[in-house]
């Protein structure tokens, strides 16, 4: 149920960047905010001064104040001044636009790039891991993006290729960079990178239908060794745990297989998230609920309760079927 959402304090501030593109943007943001704040103080200052003195002057019997029709030098001054500010700002903006542009074909020297194709779906994320440091990967996972952290001399940029399976979405993890949209029929590129291990949250930032609010992003940045371990685990086929055998047979006979893939089994649907290593994820339903046994059972029983309008129907499984299916899913580590 949505009420039991993850209660850990989460930081998504664009002013607290953890990677190069987000840092460049923060610099520009702070600078332009300072300039505009200066203009704000000036304008409000003049307004308040005119207001106070104008009130003091007012009186019903007084004659009209002197009529001043305008002044060419003053007009030129307050045209040229702002024009100069705008010119400088345009130069600064140009520099940052070039700084944050992804450059997947020319990674920086010494870099070990990770390449992932992100496909937006109503209302979850598909991740196709393409290659890491030149090594082909070729597995698919969902909703939680794992990336390696870099270190001095070895940056580990992550190049995301963004596509959409249905409507427009937008990939946005504020501490790692600005957002880039996923448009059906177009392919976009994006670049994120960090040296600090941790979980970075975000969510879809382009309205995409009923459950736009529950299309959350979770990026797990881990040191290279831990990341390699995760890669190896994800690339392997699904576990064939004896504890889940009975449930497996039952699961594969249910309509779940029409939409979900579990690698190494006959479940090959692609409409919903890949479940091969479901238990390796911290959350369910694109961050809607924590991935606990109780939540998983509630979710499979009736997805419409936690995420009303989502595209997974409630299948009205019998208690026995539900238990077997969930038992099996629990073995997919």
């Amino acid at each position: 149920m949505a009420g039991v959402l993850l209660a850990d304090a989460q930081n998504l501030s664009v002013l607290d960047p953890a990677g190069p593109p987000a840092e460049s943007i923060r610099g520009l943001f702070v600078l332009v905010s300072a300039i505009t704040f200066g203009i704000f103080l000036l304008v409000e200052g003049v307004l308040i001064y005119s207001l106070v003195t104008g009130r003091r002057r007012a009186g019903p019997t007084d004659p009209e104040p002197p009529q001043v029709y305008g002044s060419k030098p003053i007009e030129i001054a307050w045209t040229a001044g702002p024009a100069l500010v705008v010119f400088v700002l345009i130069l600064l903006v140009g520099r940052v636009i070039w700084e944050i542009q992804p450059n997947p074909d020319r990674p920086p020297p010494g870099a070990e790039p990770l390449r992932v194709t992100v496909v937006g779906h109503q209302w979850w994320w598909e991740y196709r891991y393409e290659s890491y440091n030149g090594r082909e990967l070729g597995f698919v996972t969902a909703n939680e993006l794992h990336i390696p952290t870099g270190e001095v001399g070895t940056p580990r940029p992550v190049y995301l290729t963004l596509q959409s399976a249905d409507v427009c979405h937008s990939f946005w993890v504020p501490r790692l960079g600005g957002k880039t949209d996923l448009l059906p029929g177009r392919t976009n590129q994006m670049w994120i990178q960090t040296d600090e291990p941790g979980v970075y949250l975000g969510q879809c930032a382009e309205y995409c239908g009923t459950q736009h609010a529950h299309m959350l992003l979770r990026v797990v940045a881990e040191p290279p060794a831990a990341f390699e371990k995760w890669l190896a685990a994800e690339a392997a086929p699904a576990a064939d745990d004896p504890a889940g055998r009975a449930g497996k047979a039952e699961f594969l006979s249910l309509s779940c297989v029409n939409c979900h893939t579990i690698r190494g089994t006959t479940a090959r649907g692609t409409f919903g998230p890949d479940l091969t290593h479901l238990m390796a994820r911290q959350t369910l339903a694109a961050g809607t609920t924590p991935n606990s046994p109780a939540d998983l059972r509630r979710w499979v029983n009736n997805p419409q309760q936690a995420k009303p309008g989502c595209l997974m129907p409630a299948f009205a499984l019998t208690d026995r079927n539900l238990t077997l299916a969930v038992d099996y899913l629990e073995t997919l580590r």
Binding site: L6, N11, P82, G178
Partner: protein, 553 residues
């Protein structure tokens, strides 16, 4: 200069009033620009209450994390209707309506150039609005697409009910009305000015309405075309935006924003004009730098046609396009700055009369600048990548549309109500309305900027706890509750002042433009004798024969 020399229209005694059916008939068939203007305003007041109620419901739903007060689909319908209504059936009708009332009077004309077309424009706008709201009773209900309706959410695959069709057809119909209004303003201003009023001597509001109309004429057809293409997709099996069959989501965004960005200038330029009438009269000074203001208006009208893709920095255009649209967007701030500085220079050294029109004008001057400055922040393409589609943007454009457009409109309505009805609005209620709006508006929309910087996207019906968004949402909701009564007070004031208000007289503000030379309310023919003018402030010349304006202009 000749002023009307007819008897002030005495208010008919109760027993001599015509039956209500006759009154209704008269208002329905009227082609009088003043009555049509008032009809536009009344229509907008009705819609603002509906769309405002939707806004309050959304704010209540966002009061705390994971509330289930408004279900997701209903929430999405609310923000779609709220945005569409406020832009098309509140903002534009108010501005067009007020201009409809004021422009012919200000240029000494007897009516608009095409009175019947004028009536058509109003009824098309009204019925377009009703068609959009007809979606309330169709299967599936109102659309859940947001006011900019990004494809392919609007296609049959994702929106199966007729709600989107009601929306698109309603906007086509009301767009026709808006276009005819623009044509009417252009022709009226070009050809019906009274003797002596050259184009360089029109009141500033008239000049602004001319350029607004030019903008409407340029950008409405692309919107109509895009909506028609959408209906071709939905009803006739075309694939313009149907991405499943090779259509383009990107195309819709360009077409929509080519209309959508100039639209916000269409919504704010007339408010600039209103402020430019009110600030001089209540500062008792002539408008500072009229020629530069006039040039700045034309500059805004032109430049704003080339900035639309600043809504699309995150779409993945090229670096060169990003830079172009960032630069163009920042250029708009130069003429806008010129205007602001000229208003300040008009207030400076004046003798301020703090009546209700001036209160709202000062609200405009103090608040619009903030929306303009956050606009400069958003024009910085890389910064936009972070804060676009977040509550920062929601805060920004409400700051412009309420801090700018709504304060300007309230200023204008308080200014011209005595002329339109012959009665003064209650100053006491107006002050309540102003302060509730001013404080409630700041409290609603300032915290939204913070929520956006903290990573809160717009258009989410709920959010999880622990992200640091709760406080800002609660402040915004409190602000909305503080703001809401101000609109009710306004509605109450404009209705009850019809019989409770003090009798206004012809010229209650001691103002300077032609509309104050005739009676309040003006007769159907406006002026018994068409006036002749020598300057931009004919009534100033009349009141100060020793020191007339035409000596200086």
């Amino acid at each position: 200069m000749a002023t009307a020399e007819i008897e002030p229209a005495a208010l008919p005694a109760a027993e001599s009033r015509p039956p209500w059916t006759a009154v209704l008939h008269e208002w329905v068939v009227t082609v009088d620009h003043k009555k049509i203007g008032i009809l536009y305003v009344l229509m907008a007041v009705g819609f603002i209450l509906v769309a405002g109620a939707a806004a309050v419901m959304m704010r209540l739903q966002l009061w705390a994390p994971n509330l289930a007060l408004v279900p997701p689909t209903t929430f999405n319908q609310f923000f779609t209707l709220h945005g569409t209504t406020m832009v098309f059936f509140v903002g534009m009708p108010l501005l067009i309506g007020i201009a409809n009332f004021a422009v012919p009077l200000m240029i000494g004309a007897r009516d608009m150039a095409f009175p019947r077309l004028n009536a058509f424009g109003f009824w098309a706008t009204l019925f377009g609005g009703l068609l959009v709201y007809f979606s309330l009773v169709v299967p599936g209900g109102p659309p859940t697409i947001g006011w900019f309706a990004y494809a392919p959410l609007t296609e049959n695959s994702f929106a199966r009910g007729p709600g989107v069709d009601c929306w698109a057809l309603g906007l086509i119909v009301s767009g026709l009305g808006t276009t005819t209004a623009a044509i009417n303003f252009i022709v009226t201003i070009l050809s019906l000015r009274c003797p002596g009023m050259t184009l360089r001597k029109v009141p500033f509001f008239v000049w602004v309405m001319f350029w607004t109309s030019v903008q409407i004429l340029v950008v409405m057809p692309p919107l109509t075309a895009a909506l028609t293409m959408l209906e071709f997709d939905r009803q006739l099996g075309a694939h313009f935006f149907d991405t499943q069959a090779g259509g383009s989501a990107y195309l819709w965004q360009h077409l929509f924003w080519f209309f959508g960005h100039p639209e916000v200038y269409i919504l704010v330029l007339p408010a600039f004009g209103m402020i430019s009438e009110v600030v001089p009269v209540f500062s008792r000074k002539v408008l500072f730098g009229y020629e530069f203001m006039a040039a700045a208006t034309a500059a805004i009208a032109f430049i704003s046609l080339g900035v639309w893709a600043h809504h699309m920095f995150a779409v993945g255009m090229s670096r060169a396009l990003d830079l172009f649209f960032a630069a163009a967007s920042m250029l708009v701030s130069i003429p806008t700055g010129i205007k602001l500085f000229n208003w300040l220079a008009t207030v400076y050294g004046g003798k301020l009369v703090l009546k209700s029109p001036m209160l709202f004008a000062l609200g405009f001057l103090s608040m619009f600048v903030i929306g303009g400055l956050t606009g400069i922040i958003l024009a910085c393409a890389p910064v936009d990548l972070q804060v676009t589609d977040t509550y920062f943007v929601v805060g920004h454009f409400h700051w412009v549309l309420i801090g700018g457009t709504v304060f300007g409109i309230f200023s204008a309505i308080h200014y011209w109500y005595p002329k339109a009805t012959g009665r003064m609005l209650s100053e006491r209620l107006a002050k309540w309305q102003f302060w509730l709006l001013f404080l409630g508006f700041i409290l609603t929309f300032a915290p939204m900027h913070v929520a956006g910087i903290l990573g809160m996207p717009r258009r989410i019906y709920t959010y999880g706890p622990g992200r640091g968004w709760e406080l800002w949402n609660q402040l915004a909701t409190l602000g909305a509750l503080l703001q809401a009564p101000s609109y009710l007070i306004f509605a109450y004031n404009i209705v009850t002042s019809l019989w409770k208000g003090k009798v206004a007289g012809d010229d209650p503000w001691d103002a300077w433009t032609l509309e104050w030379a005739t009676t309040s309310p003006p007769p159907a023919y406006n002026f018994a004798v068409v006036p002749t003018v020598k300057s931009r402030r004919p009534l100033w010349d009349l009141k100060h024969p020793d020191d007339p304006d035409w000596k200086y202009e």
